[in-house]
Symmetry: C2
Subunit: 202 residues, 2 copies
């Protein structure tokens, strides 16, 4: 049995939950409230010294941090990870794009505006991050205009990684109205077998 330490509204945590559900893996969920700094307690820091969720305890007791590293671990030798060397690297390219160029802006605004109630405190950062979030969406839109999925011709962990915060970008007040290819791709992801919503409870 896996144990997923998670803050349920987090898109990063949702990535692991979604893939484990699609892979029919059994997992226990342990809530760690990041808003209440529960990731900074001595007990939690023993589990993950970087003090972040998701943190995944594997059935053998080993612990993995970093949502996209978990996706990779879980997806190896499954249809969720392509089997050519180039496509595997392209999956990682999109996952690093997500963590560097997408999540820091799109997820952060969603958190400040819709969860942490910090719209006023971070007003100038919100203004500065807004165009960077749209720039990431522009890169995705251009890529998806001529493609079904982010990499190759099938659904992969690259799609899971980018779906997580893109489909709730409106909670950070990003308007996806003009992103036709992205919206088509979001609907395609939602039609995958065993898809679950971010607020899914068993």
């Amino acid at each position: 049995m896996y144990t997923l330490y998670e803050y349920p509204p987090s898109g990063n945590c949702y990535k692991a939950r979604l893939l484990m559900h699609q892979l029919r893996l059994r997992f226990e969920r342990v809530t760690v409230d990041t808003q209440a700094n529960e990731t900074r307690t001595p007990e939690f820091l023993l589990l993950n010294p970087n003090g972040k969720v998701p943190t995944l305890k594997l059935p053998n007791g080993e612990v993995l941090a970093e949502s996209n590293a978990m996706l990779w671990y879980l997806a190896e030798d499954t249809p969720f990870l392509p089997d050519t060397r180039l496509q595997r690297a392209q999956v990682l390219q999109w996952m690093f794009f997500e963590q560097y160029s997408h999540e820091p802006f799109i997820a952060t605004l969603r958190n400040w505006i819709s969860y942490a109630n910090k719209r006023d405190e971070f007003a100038s950062e919100i203004e500065a991050f807004r165009p960077k979030g749209y720039a990431a969406l522009d890169v995705m839109e251009q890529h998806l205009e001529s493609r079904t999925y982010l990499v190759g011709e099938s659904y992969s962990i690259a799609d899971i990684a980018l779906y997580a915060y893109t489909h709730v970008a409106h909670e950070g007040e990003f308007d996806l109205g003009n992103y036709v290819a992205i919206c088509r791709w979001l609907r395609r992801i939602e039609k995958q077998p065993r898809h679950i919503a971010i607020d899914w409870r068993e």
Copy 2:
């Protein structure tokens, strides 16, 4: 022959250069001056729509972005990537840690202070980013206190990814004086066969 589009002082670009040299791969270097916005020209955006270096053209003409995705591509089936599932995921864990919790603070301060001459313009950001950079170094120090390399018992692309900006952290005015384990690890990386310095020219 590979073609590496790079800004030579960039640690992200150095990662690919270092690994290709250690793997004895032939590559051409093309300088793209990020300070002069040469990553935003229409020609460059055709190559990499996200407008960043390094960008790597493979011998077959395909193009890869994201430094750590390149490292993975180049390292597959070599001793630079461990062959157990857990260790591969741990390599990725450290590479995602690098791009999310380390590079945005340590590399950014180095650039503003030592290359882009923006110390005054970004004075308040520099102050805010400083403790976040040290927090990343603290996580590395704790991990390396009892280990030779970041993952397992051998040098891997996780070490290359973290070495790139850690060994020049002083250019962002981070003081590594108290980071004994990190400094020991840096020296160990520099003793690897075919190691090259960041300012290496053939």
